[in-house]
């Protein structure tokens, strides 16, 4: 099974949400999504999901390309723009095959319609697993080439010329011999009448003029710099109300008794009422909603709430990993005969990971209106199909009648891809109560956002390794303890980056088990998902194995990659070592640490330069080598790796959500420390040339940084790291 098809894994319903209505949604959502992705009836099921939807007109050039009479080419982006900038790459793929003028290419975001805009790998319309570019490469090249052929055909007919003699460049169709030329705008009416070819000829990559160049830049820098970009938080609609919700302080808690009298008296407050997830206050503006919520007096019913603390859970997880509890492990990878493979001297290590919040700059929010069976959502949707199903269940309507206008997200890092659609359903429940199609904007404060769960789950890894000749792994035992990240199927996501790792491939015995405890804290998808933990475990372990064998960490990895034939990892390793000056002297007090990890098909190697002065840990430079197949937008590849390093570094240095009596203690940026400018290292990005199908870049920059830093610390201090964050 592909590691990307997390929706396929829906069989076993899981109960962990604190919102009953939401839960119902997730079960059916999961089942439906699975049903159609797994049985390969994608089109049929997506069609069924679209019942009730308004008819869409794909236009002459199909659902991904619009060209207007002024010559502007609009590429329809079915993915959420959350900062990853994949719109630039997608537009470049179309523009390259179409031979459009890049300055006359723009993008718009697709409406929610799984029949037309689902991602083939995810099986739904949604954005995740760094799939945008990989999932669009063939489809958008075809679409661009077909549109180009239509213009060529129209020109050929008009001037009675052989098709082969016609060229296209920068949006101009031309015939050199006769010196005739016309723009896309000139030819639009004629071209639109041509039947698109089924198998248009695609360009030879050696003829690319756009792909792989610095010309390909993101298209939204101006609006995002000038404050004119419209985010969910900025939506203003006629007659719109603003809602805030008092949520139970404990996961699994609910409203016991609510005294709403004082809240109702707050000027500007329009209504106060109980919903499944708490007590909602709707008001004329945000501040009134906030004051109204402050005036609520709620007694919470914590009978079924999670009340354990992080320390207790950590101790429990360690016991689980040792097989000392009733949580049984299930095998994720086994190889060879265990028998006596683990007798004798072993390398043993364990790792603790805390819960982590996503903390995007824009706290979760949503705008919804419910008019009878019609639901209209305007917000930064990340998993449109799932949101449609969950909201349809909440509003008792059909998924196709849940219309979504997708706005750019002020960050997500996976939070807006939550498969229960928690805050979206909350907004729909409020809008349904308000009724009459009146729009409601649900505003979460930072505290609401950070204490809402769907965290990167707490986890514990325990490894026991027996080494053989040259210190290479001979037998590898690996126990993982983590909640299931998605509420269905086998608990596979936490094994990403461990399962089928070259370090396991080189061993002749593998005994990998995952243990899945049930907790009241809802876990979620966090940028790079299981990889951000597994890279730390694998790469830090391998550095320790290399040191035990008295081998250079880079040389030790090279030996393993060579042995298992992992040529891509070899290439990034060699490139990163060369660019980082691996092995050359550094200033006193500084050391380098190396990590190499594959995430969603992209391989990234990083070398971090680290020093420790007293309590002060500094990372000044991170050199990265990346193999993401054909590099479409080098500037955005660099941006994503730069950002991924900062995101991963902040999390590794400081990130943790601590539970005290089941309640998150870090609820804002005063306590939940993140990376700031004075701590941001210089990041250098080097791309391995490739002719392979492009793979994603939004997430793969995150996983290697924690182990790269840990390995530098190991080199500096001789002490291994066994838990994150580094700075407590």
């Amino acid at each position: 099974m592909s590691e990307r098809k997390f929706e396929e894994e829906a069989q076993r319903p899981k109960v962990f949400t604190r919102r009953r209505l939401v839960l119902g949604g997730s079960l059916l959502g999961g089942a439906l999504v699975v049903g159609y992705a797994a049985t390969n009836f994608g089109a049929i099921a997506a069609g069924a999901l679209s019942i009730g939807a308004r008819a869409a007109d794909p236009g002459a050039f199909g659902p991904f390309i619009k060209i207007d009479e002024t010559g502007w080419v609009t590429v329809v982006n079915r993915y959420q723009e959350m900062g990853q900038g994949s719109h630039a790459g997608l537009a470049a793929i179309v523009a390259e095959e179409l031979d459009a003028d890049w300055e006359m290419v723009r993008f718009e975001t697709a409406p929610a319609n799984a029949a037309v805009y689902r991602d083939a790998t995810l099986g739904i319309q949604g954005t995740g697993a760094s799939q945008a570019i990989a999932g669009s490469w063939d489809q958008l090249r075809q679409a661009g080439a077909a549109a180009r052929a239509m213009f060529v055909q129209a020109f050929a007919r008009k001037w009675v010329l052989p098709v082969e003699s016609i060229g296209v460049r920068n949006g101009v169709v031309y015939h050199s011999a006769s010196q005739r030329s016309e723009t896309f705008a000139d030819l639009l009416a004629d071209a639109a009448k041509i039947t698109p070819p089924e198998h248009p000829k695609l360009k030879d990559p050696k003829d690319y003029r756009l792909i792989g160049t610095e010309i390909v830049r993101r298209k939204d820098s101006q609006s995002k710099s000038s404050g004119t970009e419209l985010y969910t938080q900025d939506v203003r609609l006629p007659n719109m109300l603003v809602a805030m919700v008092a949520h139970p302080p404990h996961f699994g808690g609910k409203v016991g008794r609510a005294d709403m009298a004082a809240a109702r008296k707050v000027p500007g407050v329009v209504d106060v009422f109980e919903i499944a997830s708490g007590v909602a206050v709707v008001a004329q503006d945000t501040w009134s909603a906030c004051l109204g919520r402050n005036a609520l007096k709620v007694e919470w019913d914590d009978a079924k709430a999670e009340t354990r603390s992080s320390d207790a859970l950590r101790a429990l997880y360690r016991e689980i990993a040792k097989g000392k509890t009733d949580v049984t492990g299930s095998a994720f990878q086994t190889k060879g005969k265990v028998d006596d493979a683990f007798d004798g001297e072993l390398f043993e290590a364990s790792f603790d990971f805390p819960y982590l919040a996503h903390a995007p700059m824009e706290p979760m929010n949503c705008v919804a209106s419910v008019d009878g069976r019609r639901v209209k959502l305007t917000f930064a949707a990340q998993v449109q199909t799932v949101d449609q199903i969950n909201c349809a269940l909440a509003a008792i309507t059909l998924p196709g009648m849940v219309e979504i206008e997708t706005l750019p997200a002020g960050g997500s890092f996976g939070r807006r891809g939550t498969l229960t659609s928690d805050y979206i359903v909350e907004c729909v429940n409020i809008a349904r109560h308000v009724g009459g199609g009146r729009p409601v904007k649900l505003v979460w404060t930072r505290e609401d956002d950070m204490s809402s769960g769907y965290y990167r789950p707490m986890a514990h890894h325990m490894v026991s390794i027996k080494c053989g000749e040259g210190g290479l792994p001979l037998a590898w035992r690996h126990n993982i303890v983590s909640q299931a990240i998605v509420p269905f199927g086998a608990n596979e996501l936490p094994t990403h980056g461990v399962k089928n790792s070259p370090y396991l491939s080189v061993a002749s015995v593998v005994d990998g088990k995952i243990f899945t405890p049930k907790l009241g804290v809802p876990p979620g998808l966090w940028r790079s998902v299981g990889n951000s933990q597994s890279a730390m475990v694998m790469e830090h372990t391998v550095d320790q194995l290399a040191r035990r064998a008295k081998r250079d960490p880079a040389e030790y990895r090279r030996a393993i990659f060579t042995k298992v034939g992992d040529v891509r990892k070899l290439a990034v390793l060699d490139l990163v070592c060369k660019k980082a000056g691996w092995g050359s002297p550094l200033d006193a007090g500084w050391a380098r640490g190396l990590a190499v990890h594959e995430c969603f098909g992209t391989v990234v190697a990083q070398v971090a330069e680290v020093s420790v002065l007293g309590e002060n840990l500094r990372v000044r430079r991170v050199v990265c080598a990346v193999d993401c197949g054909i590099a479409i937008a080098p500037n955005q590849i660099a941006a994503q790796i730069e950002g991924g390093v900062c995101f991963g570094l902040g999390a590794a240095l400081y990130g943790r959500i601590t539970l005290d009596n089941g309640t998150p203690q870090e609820t804002n940026f005063d306590a939940y420390r993140v990376l700031r400018m004075d701590e941001a290292p210089a990041v250098e990005v080097h791309i391995v040339p490739s002719k392979k199908t492009p793979t994603g870049i939004g997430e793969p920059g995150v996983p290697p940084i924690a182990p790269a830093v840990a390995n530098a610390l190991l080199s500096l201090t001789g002490r291994p790291t066994s838990s994150l964050p580094f700075v407590i």
């Binding site: 900038g85 995007p360 824009e362 930072r446 990376l675």
Partner: protein
């Protein structure tokens, strides 16, 4: 009360304790100033009050009365910082960037040729979760004409 925003007198008759952020966003329709944390920890809501960078989430409307309030909407399209931000493709999600630019503009008003240390000191109160810090720094230096 009267609030002078981007050189224009605007009328506001709501709660004088309402944070300036929500007055700007909900009542004056100036949504370029963003809500991020509400406790002056992230800088997304940065505006200028009498030329100094301030966190509008933590300034009651009454306090801003009589001051010159400048928001991202008051930064002209040709401002060197805006030009540099686009040139360096600084934004990713973009949500923090108007606050970053307001903070940077206050820095350059005070120190037209800032050093790296000046930039770190001035900008470290502004969080960017996408991690665009190095591009922000490069854009500030570009706008200031320092290498």
């Amino acid at each position: 009360m009267k609030l002078n925003v981007n050189s224009e007198d605007r009328e506001f008759d709501g709660d004088p304790n309402m944070p300036l952020l929500w007055v700007l966003r909900d009542h004056l329709n100036l949504s370029g100033t963003k809500f991020g944390c509400g406790i002056a920890q992230c800088g997304a809501c940065t505006v200028h009050l009498n030329g100094k960078a301030a966190r509008s989430c933590s300034v009651p409307a009454a306090e801003a009365q009589g001051m010159k309030i400048r928001t991202i909407e008051g930064v002209s399209a040709g401002h060197p910082l805006l030009v540099a931000w686009v040139k360096h493709d600084v934004p990713q999600c973009g949500y923090c960037q108007s606050g970053q630019i307001m903070q940077a503009a206050a820095l350059l008003d005070e120190k037209p040729k800032p050093t790296d240390t000046d930039i770190d000191a001035a900008m470290s109160g502004n969080i960017c979760r996408c991690g665009t810090y190095r591009r922000i720094k490069a854009a500030i230096k570009d706008a200031a004409g320092v290498a």
